[in-house]
C-alpha cells in the first residue's frame, strides 16, 4: 500500500478549535501555492520509481478554496507523476458551504471518488462556538448534494465534547447521523490545541468544556448507537459501513508508506519519517529549489517496533503478533512481556494471536501506548 497526501493550508477564516497547519487571509498566494504543488508533483517524476498508489487524500485547511478546476488539475498532475491504481481511493475534504452541485460535479469527473465532509456538529450553538461557516441545514444538504453528484463513499467528520455540549444533544446528533446513512464517520474528541482561540477562552474562564467523565460517556454512547445502526467500529475514532473503511488512513496505521506534498505535509518512506516546512510562503519559495523538507527522523529498530504497535493498537482488531514478529525477527513477549501482562491485568489489552485494546482500553489508549514508546 502506498498513499499520497496533498495539503492545502488555506481557510477563509480560522475555526476556534483548529490547531492544524492552516492560514486565513492568504488569498493572493493561492495561485503561487497551486503552482508550487504542481512543481513539487512534477519533480517527483524524476526522483524515484514509486510504487502503485492505492490512495490519494487532499486535506487542509480547506482544499475547495482552490476551486474545482485547480483540484482537478492537481489530481491530473498526480496521475502523470505516479501510477494510480484503478481502484485507488481518492478523497478530498470538503466543507458544507462549498458543496455546490458544480464543484461536486467537477470533483467527480476529475476522479475523486470519496468525500470527507467537515460537519463537526449538528448543533447550531455548537457550530457558532466552533466558528464554523455553515449551519445545520447546510451540513445535511451537503450530503444530499454529494449523493446527487454520485458519491457513494462519503465520510462525515464530527467532534464531541464541545463547549456546553450535553449528552442529550450528542445523542440527537448521533441519531440524525445514523438516519442520514453516511458511509463512514470520524468522531473526534475535542482537544484544546496550543494557540487556538478556544484554548484561550477556556483558560480565561469564558468557555467551559463538559466534564471528562461526560466526554468519556459520549464516546461510549457513540460506539453503542453506531454499532446498532450497522457501522463497523474499526479504529479508535472511525466507523465504516459495508467495507468503506478509509484505506488511506488504514495504510498509516498499518505502518505503510506515504508521500506528503504541500506545506507541513508528512511522509513515511523507506523507514524514514519526514515533514515539509509549515509556512506556505516559505514552502512556495523553497519548492522552486525542490528543498521543502524541514526535518526527518529515522528510528532504530526497537523504537520502530514500538511505533508500529502504537499505531496498530489504534485499530480495533489490533495487530497480528505473528506477522510483526516475522517482520522484525523478534519475540514480542521477550520485549514487552511485562508491559503486556500489566495492561492485560488492568483490563486495557487482550493478547492472543493478536494484540488489541479492549473497549475500556480504547478510551485509555494513551495509557496503554505509553508502555510501548
Amino acid at each position: 500500500m502506498f498513499g499520497l497526501y496533498l495539503h492545502i493550508p488555506f481557510c477563509r477564516s480560522r475555526c476556534s478549535y483548529c490547531g492544524f497547519n492552516s492560514y486565513a487571509g492568504l488569498e493572493e498566494r493561492y495561485t503561487s501555492y497551486f503552482e508550487a504543488l504542481l512543481t513539487e508533483i512534477e519533480y517527483q517524476l524524476s526522483t524515484e520509481d514509486w510504487p502503485v498508489v492505492s490512495s490519494v487524500f487532499f486535506g487542509g485547511g480547506n482544499p475547495a478554496i482552490l476551486g474545482g478546476k485547480r483540484l482537478s488539475l492537481l489530481l491530473g498532475a498526480l496521475r502523470k507523476s505516479f501510477r494510480l491504481s484503478p481502484t485507488a481511493e481518492v478523497t478530498t475534504e470538503l466543507n458544507p458551504e462549498d458543496a455546490t452541485p458544480e464543484l461536486l460535479k467537477s470533483l467527480k469527473s476529475a476522479g475523486f471518488n470519496r468525500l470527507s465532509l467537515g460537519w463537526q456538529t449538528l448543533n447550531g450553538d455548537g457550530l457558532v462556538s466552533l466558528k464554523r461557516r455553515h449551519n445545520r441545514q447546510q451540513a445535511i444538504d451537503s450530503l444530499t448534494a454529494a449523493r446527487g453528484a454520485g458519491f457513494d463513499n462519503v465520510n462525515i467528520d464530527m467532534i464531541f465534547g464541545l463547549p456546553n455540549q450535553t449528552i442529550t444533544e450528542w445523542r440527537d446528533d448521533l441519531a440524525t447521523l445514523a438516519s442520514l446513512n453516511p458511509d463512514h464517520l470520524s468522531l473526534y474528541s475535542l482537544s484544546l490545541e496550543p494557540g487556538t482561540e478556544l484554548l484561550r477562552q477556556v483558560e480565561a474562564g469564558k468557555t467551559e468544556l463538559p466534564p471528562v467523565d461526560d466526554v468519556a460517556h459520549m464516546y461510549e454512547i457513540a460506539i453503542e448507537v453506531l454499532r446498532k445502526s450497522g457501522f463497523d467500529h474499526y479504529e479508535i475514532s472511525n466507523f465504516a459501513k459495508d467495507g468503506h473503511a478509509c484505506s488511506h488512513n488504514l495504510n498509516c496505521w498499518h505502518g505503510g508508506e506515504y508521500l506528503g506534498i504541500g506545506a507541513g505535509a508528512h511522509s513515511h518512506l523507506k523507514g524514514k519519517r519526514s515533514w515539509r516546512v509549515n509556512d506556505p510562503i516559505e514552502y512556495i519559495v523553497r519548492s522552486r529549489e525542490n528543498d521543502t523538507i524541514a526535518g526527518n527522523e529515522v528510528l532504530d529498530k526497537g523504537r520502530k517496533l514500538g511505533e508500529r504497535i502504537i499505531l496498530g493498537l489504534r485499530l480495533c482488531d489490533g495487530i497480528d503478533i505473528g506477522e510483526l514478529e516475522a517482520e522484525y525477527g523478534v519475540n514480542i513477549s521477550d520485549i514487552y512481556g511485562d508491559a503486556i501482562r500489566d495492561l492485560k491485568q488492568k483490563g486495557l489489552l487482550v493478547a492472543g494471536s493478536r494484540l488489541a485494546l479492549t473497549e475500556k482500553g480504547l478510551l485509555l489508549a494513551n495509557e496503554a501506548m505509553v508502555a510501548f514508546v
Binding site: 497547519n21 464516546y219 508528512h266 513515511h268 515533514w275 488492568k346 486495557l348 478510551l363 485509555l364 489508549a365
Partner: protein, 598 residues
Amino acid sequence: MNLDNIRNFCIIAHIDHGKSTLADRLLEITGTISSRDMKEQVLDGMDLERERGITIKAQAVKINFKAPDGREYIFNLIDTPGHVDFTYEVSRTLAACEGALLVVDAAQGVEAQTIANAHLAIENDLAIIPVINKIDLPSADPERVKREIEESLGIGAEEAILVSAKTGKGAGEVLEAIVKEVPPPKGDIGNPLKALVFDSTYDVYRGVVVFVRVIDGSIKKGDKIKMMAIGRTSEVEEIGFFSPKMTSAERIVAGEVGYVIAGIKQVKEIKVGDTITGAKNEAIEPLAGYKEVKPMVFSGIYPVDGNDYPNLREALGKLQLNDAALNFEPETSVALGFGFRCGFLGLLHMEIVKERLEREYELHLLATAPSVAYRAIKTDKSEAIIRNPSDYNADQVEKLEEPYIAATIMTPGEYVGAIMKLCQGRRGHQTNIAYLSDNRVQINYDLPLAEIVMDFYDQLKSKTRGYASFDYEHSGYRSSDLVKLDILLAAKPVDAFSAIVPKDRAYDRGKILVERLRKIIPRQMYEVPIQAAIGGRIIARETVKAKRKDVTAKCYGGDVSRKRKLLEKQKEGKKRMKQVGQVTIPQEAFLEILKVEE
C-alpha cells in the same frame, strides 16, 4: 603582653544591619588589612555565610590598635554566627569575649535578632556598646532607635555611637570606646590551663582547627591537652592567631584568643563549649555553660532516584565532616524507599544542608515534612524520643511531650493584630507585648516548635509584608494532647504522610489534607480512596475517581512523530512520580503536606 592591653569583643546585629561592613572598617583603619585587600567583606556577609555553609562561620581576627594616647592594644574581634539555629554557638562565642558592639540600623531600628543576641550578651555579663549604623541614610532616625534600644533592652543608649560603616564615619570612636568600655580580660597565667572552645572548622589538609579563648594558664606547641567534656587527650601540633590569616605562634596565654590544631580528624570529635585543659596539670573545674547540642528538627531525606542512595550517603558523610550539628541515620520508608532521617538544629540549618546536597552533590532529593523530636513517656515510665511520626505508636504511651520555643517578634504596630491571629492559630501563648516606640512593637510568644517548622516564617512575612522579624530560643518540653494522623491511599497507610498533630485539630487537618491530595493525585487506572485516620479510625475520606479517558484523536496528516513525542512526554512525566503500591504520587504531594492553612 599585659592583659590590661587586650580587648576581646564581638559584634552582634540583625541581618543586614551592617555587622560585616563595620568589621571591615575596623580592620582597615587599624591597618590589619590593606585597603587593597578590602574589596570583599572579610568577615562573612550573609550570602557568603550561606555559600560557605554553617560551620565555617565564626572567625577571630587579631587587631593591633594604637590609641590616641599612644598606648598599644590588641583587639580580638570574634565574629558570631547570625542565626537563631545557632543560639548555643553564639552564646559560647559571647562567653569568649568581655564586650560586644550592638549594631542597630538607624532606619530599621531594633529587630528580633538584635534583642535575642543582646539578651545573650547581657546574660554573659558583657559590656555592651550601642552603635547606631547607617546614619548616612536619608531615613535614618537615630533618636528613635536610641529610645527603642532603651525600651527593649534596658540599656542606656544616650551615648550610642553614630556610625556610617559605609563611609567610615564614627569608626574611630568605636575603637576608642572599645578601649574605654570593654574591660580587659582577667585570668591567671600561672593557673592550670583552661581554654574555651567556641568554634571549630575543618581544613582538608590539617584536619580540625579549634578556635579557643584561653581563660587561665597558657598553651604551646607540643603540649598534651585534654577536652574535659569528651575526655579525649591529644598533642598540640600548632597554635596561632588570625591576623586575619592563620599565623602560627609560640604560645597563647590567658586572655588571648587563637587557634589550636591537635590531630583531630572530624569536627564531631570536638564540642563547642568544651574546656581544654592540660593533660598533666589538669584544671579542677571545667568552664561553665557547656551543653550537648541536640538536633531539634528532623526530616526524612530520600533520593528521587533510588540508585542515588549510595551517593546521598557519601554526600551526607562529607557534609558532616564540617558540620558537627548534622546527624543522620538510615531510614526505610514504605513509600519512598531507602533514605536518611536527618537531624538539624533548626529550619535554616535544614535548608542549608538540603541545598548543599542538591547543589554541591547534584542530587535530586525529596524531603518529608519536617518534624520535631517528641518525647513519649511510656506507661512503664521509660522515655522514648520520636523523630519520625510514623514511628509513633499510641499504645503504651502515657504522655506525649513536644518541644516549645520562646519567640520574639518585632513589628510595626499595624501588624500586631495579624501576628496575634497567626500565633494563636499556631497554639501560641502570648507572654509579653511592649510598644517600644510609636511604630515598633515587641511581642513574645510561647509556641510549640512543631508549629513553626512548617511555614510559620513564610506566613509571618506575608502577613506583615516582610516588616516583622522573628527569633526564638528553645524553652523545653511540655505535655500536649497529640495524636498521630495517618493518610491512607487505596487503604494502605503512606508513612511519609504521617504527622503528629494536636488532637483538637486532627479532624480539620485530616479533612484539609485529603482534599488537597485529591486535587494533586492524578486520576489512575483504579479509583483511589484517600483517607485520613487516627489510630485506625477514619476521620475523612475523598476519592480520586478512576481515569476514564486518555486518548488522542488522530494523527493529522500522518504526523506520527508528534504523536510519539507526546507519548514520550507522558512517559517522562510518569517517571517523575513516586509509585507507592498501585498508586502513582507526584512529588508535589509530599511538599503539599508542608503547607498548613490557617
